[in-house]
């Protein structure tokens, strides 16, 4: 893979109309609106340029790209001059050369000439241009005023800013505005005095900067530079792979020196991210080589014994023997496995195959259980497929964007940036969220309506919107009657029309003024293409599935489905949530969402795998815990998932883990769950293995090995060894063979292969004979289930109610710099931005309790108690408190309860009744946790090798 991308100078034009012109005597035909610079680049003529780059709108400031146009006056900048029919352009002649040399001379006279020791040496556009224009002397001395002494800003942990090298091309400023949408950089002053700085002459860390790195990537000089490049030098080769953090699934070039990653650069050809990224994907990869990585297998009899380092063979054989012993003693159904959304498709597929074929039961689940299982259920029931309906790019055609229970700028930052761009272009925005998320108000973005509802009342709100749409005659009856089951539509209309579902009636429940709901519903139904984006604020509720169904009902009733710009779009939390669900990591479904009781499907898998398969559903994660405490579930193989930290009601989970006789954890670190484990199998990071991830838009993207696995094996190989030891043979020699098997067995993947992924870059499933290159938009002519199905969505209040003992509602969320349980990001410099979980509380509630900003506060629920520091903020409404769950010692899940979604048991993370009081010491749970953690750390340190 080439290290440097071809730069066309300006973005492509979207016009269908073609224009023909002549450049240096060559005829070229390009879309109308293309710049002369780009037209020339398209036929290999490189006009010198500095301030233009094809990811940004041209600015025309450096004057290096001047050209001469026949019959025209002066020398226009080719980056800002659009092509015209019959135009004749000359890009090189004596006059142009002279002007360009003059321009370069001025730049260089104010630029340090330390090229040989500069971090950009070998990859500097200023150097290149000096060469291209034939600069041979600089007549202006360095005696005059210059910027060479300007101070460096190294406050950002990942990149440095050295203003002495700045040529004020403003590419960084435009990248921050156009690409990222944060507006953190400013260009101050004019002419010689002009300079770039974050905020109002602040440092990067003090400014609004979110460290996405777009400016660093856009900078043509060494002014903005990754610290890893400054330390290690320029990379020498690159490999395209996929980010392992969030559900956006950004494509990256891992830029390497041998087997060491020098930097991650978002891939311009990436179909999900188009060359953009966030702080996690671009910078937070250091965990992969962190000293905490465990790279040798370990076993122990009891969780109070020190670990014993053993060979792979011994560890695998021990685990297999334990599972067999447990099954012999407690029955076939007493063991199971969990996969994680951080696993690749191939790994997940293999683990569920191991459970079904080697364990002989269906006890396999994935962490999607605790985040997006209601999406799978709700969308399957209504539309017929457990997946989002659109591609991310579809948002660029939306006129109305409704965001409910999602925080894209923090949770899905790159998609958040695309969405903000569309909103700046004029799309209307409805936000339904209990908090003032950034989208509600940020530079150049403002929500038209913020429905600031009480946590746990989504269904009432959606019903109220449906009520307005139906009773005001705003529904698209023609679409609904033709594309959906008419009887279900009629029934639904009658239901939502009931007075108790009106905005006036639900105002008391949701807290959202009726007129605001009416206005938002009117906008959604009549504002043009309307698209709904939702996240865990929808799913992680006792009525999570009901809300998903309600959202699908709204889209069907208004005809907002089946084309670009509309749709129902779940924003998946982790990178491979979609994939882990697709791969059948569910106790009731085979890969491809087909129920285990379905005879035909089962027969197909039985003949492919050569075993008889179980026809009854197995245990879901919370049921496994229940069964463990009950004594009927004794052994767990857990790959890449940290249930001890991420699942609700921590004390209950810990008790269940202690009740098991064999817990096998396969992970990078001794995570919280591993503290309860008997076998530890070292995992491989995404940089150390091959496979695929599937993002929130159903896009399958390749994950490629850029360095050898630290522990010797890729994760799929470990599962394969375990299966063989259990007596069920697996003999894959590469993950591509696993994908070939998936393609044979899952209809939506029929056309997928590694060869095609290499060729196309990525593929959105369904990919089959009908859609050989994949399917960006679903349900175009008909729904996957045939006719869409409306379902009734009765609002049922959560049983988690406030009372005089627990008067506040706690809701949870996440932030940009940390990822999920934080096992990875906490081991990077990202902790600079977020080094502890804090409790956000409204100043009014704080005052009543005598709490000041920064005070330690106890948060007590019916499940447990923990202590965090308080942040006073009006982002939360009175009566609601908020926290994140990135640090294990915070024990945010000690307080969450075991309430869960009625259909899928997805836990109700988003609503817990609590009391908050000022305290001076950690909670009892935290004390015990610390003690246990210290014991486990000591047992790890005392680990002995088999020989010693």
């Amino acid at each position: 893979m080439a290290l440097r991308d071809y730069d066309f100078g300006t973005p492509p034009s979207q016009s269908d109309k073609m224009v023909t012109l002549e450049i240096d005597g060559f005829s070229v035909t390009v879309p109308e609106g293309t710049s002369v610079l780009r037209a020339a680049a398209s036929i290999g003529i490189h006009i010198p340029k500095l301030c233009a780059t094809d990811s940004l709108e041209p600015f025309g400031s450096c004057r290096l790209c001047l050209v001469q146009i026949e019959g025209g006056r002066g020398l226009p900048a080719s980056c800002t001059t659009p092509v015209a029919e019959g135009m004749k352009v000359c890009t090189q002649n004596e006059r142009l050369a002279k002007v360009r040399r003059g321009v370069m001379e001025l730049y260089i006279s104010d630029h340090p000439l330390d090229c040989l020791t500069c971090s950009a040496n070998g990859n500097c556009e200023l150097q290149d241009m000096a060469g291209a224009v034939g600069l041979r002397e600089v007549r202006y001395g360095y005696e005059g005023e210059n910027h060479l002494k300007a101070e460096k800003d190294t406050s950002n942990p990942y990149f440095a800013f050295d203003p002495a090298k700045c040529i004020v091309c403003s590419r960084c400023v435009r990248a921050c505005e156009e690409t990222q949408g944060t507006f953190a950089l400013t260009l101050d002053g004019r002419g010689f005095d002009s300079k770039v700085s974050p905020g109002q002459n602040q440092s990067f860390m003090e400014s609004e900067c979110v460290s996405c790195g777009a400016c660093v990537q856009a900078c043509p000089t060494a002014t903005l530079m990754e610290k890893t490049v400054i330390e290690k030098g320029q990379p020498e080769h690159s490999i395209v792979t996929t980010c392992a953090y969030c559900g956006v699934g950004c494509s990256f070039k891992a830029e390497m020196k041998g087997t060491e990653v020098v930097r991650m650069v978002p891939n311009k050809d990436g179909h999900a991210n188009h060359g953009h990224s966030c702080v996690k994907g671009r910078f937070a990869f250091g965990y992969a080589t962190h000293k905490d990585r465990i790279t040798a297998p370990m076993i122990r009899k009891s969780i109070h014994d020190p670990w014993r380092v053993v060979s792979w063979e011994e560890a695998i054989n021990y685990a297999a023997a334990e599972f067999k012993r447990i099954q012999a003693k407690y029955g076939r159904y007493s063991v199971g496995a969990l996969t994680s959304s951080r696993c690749t498709n191939e790994e997940t597929y293999l683990v569920q195959k191991l459970v079904r074929a080697a364990f002989g039961n269906n006890n396999v689940d994935t962490c999607a259980r605790v985040c997006h299982s209601p999406t799978g259920y709700g969308l399957k029931q209504t539309l017929g497929e457990s997946a989002g309906t659109q591609a991310f790019d579809s948002v660029m055609k939306a006129d109305v964007i409704m965001v409910i229970g999602a925080n894209p700028t923090d949770g899905h930052p790159v998609f958040g940036s695309i969405m903000k761009r569309r909103i700046r272009e004029g799309a209307k925005l409805i936000v339904a969220d209990p908090r003032d998320i950034d989208l509600v108000k940020s530079p150049h973005v403002k929500a038209d309506y913020h429905l600031k509802l009480r946590p746990g009342t989504n269904v009432a709100l959606i019903n109220a919107m449906a009520h307005v749409i139906v009773t005001q005659g705003l529904a698209n009856d023609a679409f609904a009657m033709e594309r959906c089951e008419p009887a279900s539509y009629e029934k639904w209309k009658a239901f939502v029309s009931e007075e108790r579902n009106s905005p006036e009636a639900t105002e008391a429940i949701t807290g959202v003024p009726a007129e605001t709901v009416r206005a938002a519903a009117l906008l959604y139904a009549t504002g043009g293409n309307a698209a709904i984006y939702y996240g865990l604020g929808v799913t992680e509720h006792s009525q999570g599935s009901t809300t998903v169904i309600g959202i699908a009902n709204l889209a069907m009733a208004t005809g907002n489905i089946g084309r670009e710009g509309v749709g129902v779009n779940p924003l998946r939390g982790q990178n491979n949530v979609q994939g882990s669900c697709d791969m059948g990591s569910f106790p009731h479904e085979f890969p491809g969402y087909r129920h285990v009781s379905d005879f035909e499907t089962r027969s197909q898998f039985e003949s492919a795998w050569g075993v008889t398969l179980e026809a009854e559903p197995g245990l879901r994660i919370p049921n496994m815990f229940g069964a463990a405490l009950d004594g009927s579930f004794k052994g767990l193989y857990c790959e890449g998932e940290d249930i001890a930290q991420s699942d609700p009601d921590t004390q209950h989970v810990h008790a269940a883990l202690r009740a098991m006789e064999c817990v096998v954890v396969q992970d990078l670190f001794l995570n919280e769950t591993a503290k309860f484990a008997h076998v530890f199998l070292p995992g491989a990071s995404f940089l150390e293995k091959n496979g695929t991830f599937t993002n929130a838009e159903r896009r399958i993207s390749p994950v490629r090995k850029v360095m050898p696995p630290l522990a010797g094996y890729e994760d799929w190989e470990v599962t394969q060894m375990l299966s063989n030891a259990l007596g069920y043979p697996m003999n894959y020699s590469h993950p591509s063979e696993i994908m070939d098997e998936i393609a044979r067995l899952v209809p939506a993947f029929a056309g997928v292969s590694y060869e095609k992924l290499d060729r196309l870059g990525s593929i959105q499933w369904p990919c089959n004979e009908k859609a050989p290159n994949g399917t960006p938009t679903m349900h175009v002519d008909q729904f996957v289930r045939g006719k869409g199905r409306f379902m009734l969505t009765e609002y049922v209040p959560t049983q988690e109610r406030t009372s005089s003992r627990y008067p506040l509602i706690l809701t949870t969320g996440r932030i940009l710099s940390q990822y999920n349980v934080g096992a990875q990001t906490r081991r990077t410099m990202n902790s600079v931005w977020h080094s502890e979980d804090r409790l956000e509380i409204h100043p009014h509630d704080a005052e009543q309790r005598g709490i000041n900003d920064g005070d330690w506060v106890g948060i007590k629920s019916r499940s447990g108690e923990t202590v965090l520091r308080a942040t006073l903020t009006e982002r939360v409404q009175p009566g609601v408190v908020y926290t994140t769950f990135h640090f294990p010692e915070s024990g945010a899940n000690v307080i969450t309860t075991d309430n869960s979604d009625w259909a899928t048991n997805c836990p109700e993370y988003k609503v817990t009744a609590v009391q908050v009081t000022k305290v001076t010491e950690p909670s009892e749970w935290q004390r015990q946790y610390r003690q246990f953690s210290e014991e486990q750390r000591a047992l790890l340190e005392q680990r002995s090798s088999a020989a010693g």
Partner: protein
């Protein structure tokens, strides 16, 4: 399995189907959901609980569980050996 928890889960499912005007459809919907999503040891426990009077179970889930009880063939010896 903790029976209170199972009762709560069954009632939650029942609440979703309570909006359905046709009672037969609702009862059937609940039964089908439990059949498709609950491990047999959970179904067995709730059926046993229902046979003993079904304390805490609402009316609709109770009828649905009775429906499941009639399909005894579906139950395998699970979770207890």
């Amino acid at each position: 399995m903790n029976i209170e928890n199972l009762v709560k889960m069954a009632n939650d499912i029942g609440n979703f189907f309570s909006a359905e005007p046709d009672r037969t459809v609702a009862v059937h919907g609940i039964a089908d959901h439990i059949r498709r999503f609950w491990d047999p040891r959970m179904r067995k426990a709730i059926i046993a609980h229902n046979r003993e009077g079904g304390v805490g179970l609402n009316e609709l889930p109770r009828a649905a569980i009775a429906e499941l009880d009639n399909e005894a063939t579906l139950l395998r010896e699970a979770g207890d050996g």
